[in-house]
């Protein structure tokens, strides 16, 4: 087991810079999830840790050893690929023993390691099958088996669940977490799915355009996103953003660009009269009676029912606001509703392009 540390890591492809001085540390035994939209550099980052991509600057160290120019096989890592990348002409057993065989491990030991990994993942009955005789979930499990057979210092996962159907994905999510708890190996996991990140990570690294936007515990990112991008990326349905400015002339209110007033905390006096973005999580909005103090109007444009909750999308404050409510709704399209925000759970961001979080 080992710590993985990236220091001012830079990756360029010709003139295009894929990673901009990335600093990040994965502690020993930690499960870190890299998340971001496609093209943000998360897979590139993972491949540089694996040694599949050469880096253009900075350092990568694994277990205290700088591995910049060290070949993948000497980095003591294992990787699970999005497409599973099983060797189609080899049986499950041979797929799993390939790395050990190349490393010159004696056959009896290989057999033992394969049997052990197969037992952990429930692959024993499949050992003599070829990959094409396996289902998607089984292939995924073999890919993981191939990784754990080697007992590596670091596990790297590159979107391992994105080819599975929704139900299997949830199941494998739990299995990977369980496996991590059991093996305690340092893990870097790449995904574009923020729910996977939220549910699996000890620590989430949010990336965009080759930069790290924020690193933190999942709930920290959820409760105190460092900027507008993280706020919008983490959480589903996505956070609502309302442009406008704080007006502290009478009562403390946020005036949306269309003039709608939303009550905010009095401590926001410092933000007075400068353009800002008010952000509210959908579950922090509620639908209330017309004469409730602080309520502001909206027009229902979409109602989505998931079963346990209902997502109402309303046109209000010059934008579309998502509201998550627990009770079943009888709202009709075009109906006028009154919305109220939980004053203690509001977020404010700069109106600039970076959209940094404003102290509040």
């Amino acid at each position: 087991m080992a710590q993985v540390a990236l220091n001012k890591l830079v990756k360029r492809y010709g003139a295009y810079q894929a990673l901009h001085e990335v600093d990040m540390t994965v502690e020993n035994g930690e499960f870190v999830v890299l998340v971001g939209p496609s093209g943000c550099g998360k897979s590139t980052l993972l491949r540089t840790i694996a040694g599949l991509e050469e880096i253009s600057g900075g350092t990568i160290s694994i277990g205290g050893r700088v591995v910049n120019t060290i070949r993948p096989k000497e980095r003591d890592i294992a990787m699970v690929f999005q497409s599973y990348a099983l060797y189609p002409h080899k049986t499950v057993r041979k797929n799993m023993s390939f790395a050990l065989k190349l490393a010159g491990v004696a056959q009896p030991e290989i057999d033992k390691a394969v049997e052990r990994a197969a037992a952990i993942l429930g692959l024993e009955p499949l050992l003599d099958r070829k990959p094409k005789q396996l289902s998607g979930g089984q292939r995924q499990r073999v890919a993981m088996g191939r990784a754990i057979v080697r007992n590596p210092q670091v596990f790297l996962f590159d979107e391992p669940l994105s080819n599975l159907d929704a139900k299997l994905r949830v199941q494998m999510r739990a299995e990977i977490r369980e496996l991590h708890q059991r093996l305690g190996a340092t893990t870097v996991y790449v995904t574009h799915d923020q729910i996977e990140a939220m549910t699996m990570a000890d620590k989430i690294v949010v990336m965009r355009d080759g930069h790290i936007e924020q690193i933190g515990h999942p709930l920290e990112l959820y409760d105190r996103p460092a900027n507008r991008f993280v706020a919008g990326f983490i959480g589903s349905p996505a956070m609502n953003f309302i442009e406008g400015q704080v007006d502290a002339s009478g009562t403390d209110r946020f005036i949306a660009s269309d003039g709608t007033a939303i009550p905010v905390s009095a401590r926001l006096g410092i933000l007075k009269r400068s353009p800002a973005v008010l952000a509210i999580r959908p579950e922090d909005l509620s639908i209330v009676e017309e004469n409730t103090p602080g309520a502001f109007p909206g027009m229902v444009s979409v109602v989505e029912t998931t079963g346990p909750e209902t997502i109402v999308i309303a046109n209000s404050c010059g934008t579309r606001l998502s509201v998550v409510i627990k009770e079943r709704s009888r709202l009709k399209l075009g109906e006028k509703v009154w919305l109220s925000a939980d004053v203690s759970k509001l977020h404010f961001f700069e109106a600039s392009k970076d959209g940094r979080r404003l102290a509040a």
């Binding site: 599949l52 990348a85 190349l102």
Partner: protein, 275 residues
């Protein structure tokens, strides 16, 4: 009703194609067993009556055909093997490595193929003569390499490109060297391509006529196609012998196809990645 009409629409062209392709072959086989008197009858006599082995006896024991057969075998196998070795490395390089001038080089490989055979015979003869390779196995093997290598490289490049990059990444992570990746992972997966190239290269060199005629002039070095032509003289053609020799010449090809057909399976890649 509609279905049967569609079946007819498909099967009729297929049937015509099969007849056009197979009839000469059958006619050759049948004629090889006919005595001379039955070869020219009008209307044609469909089956030999009685069948005779005289033509085969003539070809196998009284002509140079057995020697030519061995020559052809050595030259075809030699050039096919060499073409495979070179094509595997070249194609893998073209498929996997990004280097300056790659697409230009890949295009250039085919340019040799564009030159008419007639224009290269003289230069080739001069070069071979200079190297002392006229009337040698190596000479013809090298010449045939020029003939088959370009297309072999192109075919194999396509097959190698069809292998997912992630599969090779996985092997590298597993500790394989670049050559290890090629031989342990990629090469087994392009088996259908290897077979296609082998078939193409073997058949092309086995049947080649013009180069063989120009560069192997001595009896000891001649190949089968030349041997076939030798049955036609200025005054006469021994059609019975030609048919029997053709039959002998066809056997190895037919045999290779039969053996390799089963290995020529598709779907070798299935199961590697998400299908």
């Amino acid at each position: 009703m509609k279905d049967s009409r569609r079946t007819l629409l498909i099967s009729l062209p297929v049937a015509i194609l099969v007849i056009v392709a197979v009839f000469p072959f059958l006619w050759m086989a049948v004629s090889a067993f006919k005595p001379l008197s039955q070869l020219y009858t009008i209307p044609p006599q469909w089956l030999p009556d009685p069948p005779t082995l005289a033509n085969f006896k003539n070809v196998l024991f009284e002509s140079n055909i057995p020697r030519y057969f061995v020559n052809s075998l050595i030259i075809s196998i030699g050039s096919t093997f060499l073409a495979l070795v070179f094509a595997v490395f070249a194609a893998y390089g073209f498929a996997r490595f990004d280097f300056r001038g790659r697409s230009a080089a890949l295009a250039f490989v085919l340019i040799g193929q564009l030159l008419p055979t007639a224009t290269v015979i003289v230069p080739l003869y001069i070069v071979l003569n200079y190297l002392g390779l006229i009337n040698t196995y190596l000479g013809l093997i090298l010449v045939y390499l020029i003939l088959t290598l370009p297309l072999s490289v192109w075919m194999l490049t396509g097959y190698f490109r069809g292998i997912p990059k992630e599969l090779e990444d996985a092997a590298i992570i597993d500790g394989a060297s670049q050559l290890g990746v090629l031989f342990r992972i990629s090469l087994p997966l392009v088996t259908p391509g290897i077979i296609a190239v082998t078939l193409y290269s073997f058949v092309a060199t086995w049947n080649e006529f013009v180069f063989a005629l120009s560069f192997a002039t001595e009896k000891e070095m001649k190949t089968l196609p030349i041997g076939l032509a030798e049955f036609s003289t200025e005054f006469d053609t021994d059609w019975g012998a030609v048919m029997a020799a053709s039959f002998v010449m066809t056997l190895p090809i037919a045999l290779i196809f039969l053996v390799m057909q089963r290995m020529f399976v598709s779907g070798l890649m299935s199961g590697a990645t998400k299908g």
